[in-house]
């Protein structure tokens, strides 16, 4: 079966160094169509660098990234990015921010407006269309950012600690919202996080990275039933995954 699943993203032998510091050391990783993969590791393990390279925002020292068979040579609309900060344009409303992202895609004015409304609704923000980012809470801002990245239908969604700046309760809500939205749109996602709970909860696969140099240490297939919801957190195997991953991350740290 697995040989029949098409590779969506192929990362092969990536190396990245900043002067003497090796941020990534021979990182290879494949993502399947509609797979949700999390990358966890302590801060400074190069996981954000990895995301930036896939997004095309940084150039690797060597190695290649291929999306649907095409090599990545820069940033582009086939890969949507959700940053840690919502990065909404403050002079545009929630609706306006999404329409802005649709504009380069050649959608007509009416279509842009309709799509933006739909995606705001899918992240639970109906009625907030005309609010400016400064009028929205941190969690709501990140919802708009998520809706924006989904709205132009990239092949790949890259998320760089998207909920890291939110408070614990909001983070929980956002993780569940992300699962709901993912079930609806079913796309390939790479989630960078240092929250093991979040990684286990969301993913089909969790990749653990070690730091200095940044290497892939190991990976786990997360065999928890989908759709994932609050029940997932109390699933009998949830804690097991958590413990195992945590012990792996801690190896070599202590």
């Amino acid at each position: 079966m697995s040989t029949l699943v098409r590779k969506k993203l192929e990362i092969s032998q990536l190396n990245m160094s900043f002067g003497d510091v090796t941020a990534l050391d021979n990182v290879s990783l494949d993502f399947h169509e509609e797979e949700f993969v999390s990358v966890v590791g302590t801060s400074g393990c190069g996981k954000s660098t990895l995301l930036n390279i896939i997004a095309g925002l940084q150039e690797p020292s060597s190695g290649s990234v291929t999306v649907d068979g095409t090599q990545v040579l820069g940033a582009g609309r086939d890969r949507g990015v959700v940053f840690q900060q919502a990065t909404l344009l403050p002079w545009l409303t929630a609706q306006g921010n999404i329409e802005f992202a649709l504009e380069p895609g050649g959608y007509g004015k009416v279509e842009r407006s309709r799509i933006a409304k739909d995606y705001l609704a899918s992240v639970g923000l109906s009625g907030f269309e005309d609010m400016f980012p400064s009028q929205l809470s941190g969690g709501m801002q990140q919802r708009v950012a998520l809706a924006r990245s989904l709205s132009y239908q990239p092949k790949l969604l890259l998320m760089d600690e998207p909920f890291g700046a939110l408070d614990a309760l909001t983070r929980r809500t956002m993780q569940q919202l992300l699962m709901k939205v993912w079930e609806e749109h079913k796309l390939t996602v790479m989630l960078i996080t240092h929250d093991i709970d979040e990684a286990v909860f969301c993913s089909d696969r969790v990749v653990v990275m070690s730091s200095r140099p940044g290497r892939i240490k190991t990976e786990y297939s997360i065999d928890l039933p989908r759709p994932r919801d609050e029940e997932t957190f109390i699933h009998p195997s949830f804690r097991g995954y958590y413990k195992e991953i945590l012990s792996h991350i801690n190896q070599g740290v202590v």
Partner: protein, 288 residues
Amino acid sequence: MTVMKTDATTGNPRAAGPASSTPRKAGKFTSPLGRDLNRRSYILTAILSFCGLVAVWTLMASLELVDPLFLPSPLAVLGKLGEQAASGELWEDMAVSTYRVFMGFLLASAMALPIGLLAGASRRLEAVIEPVIDFIRYMPVVAFVPLTILWVGTDDAQKFLIIWMGTFFQQVLMVSDAVRTVPAQFQNLGATLGLSRTRILLRIVFPASMPRIWDALRVTLGWAWTWLVVAELVAATSGMGYRITQAQRFLATDTIIGYVIVLGIIGLVCDQILRISGRKLFRYTKGR
């Protein structure tokens, strides 16, 4: 039944009843440097401060501590201004000067915006532009007045040039600084949306730095007025600075003081217009 009354000074409801003890005024916290002031008391205090200034001036004039020839009373100054307003002289002078300021200022701003934007966005252009400007802006503009007269004569063009010199270079630096404060993540966002560098600059970076650029324009408009008067004091045949120099020749201190006050008021009005319109334009920055 206990009636809730609202304490007028603190806005805190408290139960009205027999005063058993002095009610604690909740909400009156003192910050280490002293108590906060509400808006009404602030304005009142400011007005009183102004009145105090005028009172001191009146007192000095009426006691003739200074020869009235050098320090006329507020009423004398006001009377003189009234005369000039009635004859139309004041309005004419204001019109000429305002025209010069706006032309010089618009010229400087129209050039500083694109140049500052580019200098803020590209390290290479920054290296080309900023060290040179840093050098030029420390040269005293006043010292250029004789040179500008030799270059372009004494008509309006010379006034524009002096205002331009006094504002343009600073504006470039302020605009490029404003551009550099835009978070780098905004540019990354533009790149992931597939926007070209030019579009990122024009559609994201420029509007993102607009509130700060507006502030820079506001500050430099004030300077533009100062440079105008400098230029008009030296060589002019019309305008407010010219009238002040003329008045000096005839010891008309009432005209000088009156015009200086009018210049202050014009500056204040311009500043407030830009402040209020800025607040309207950039309403989105103020949240909840």
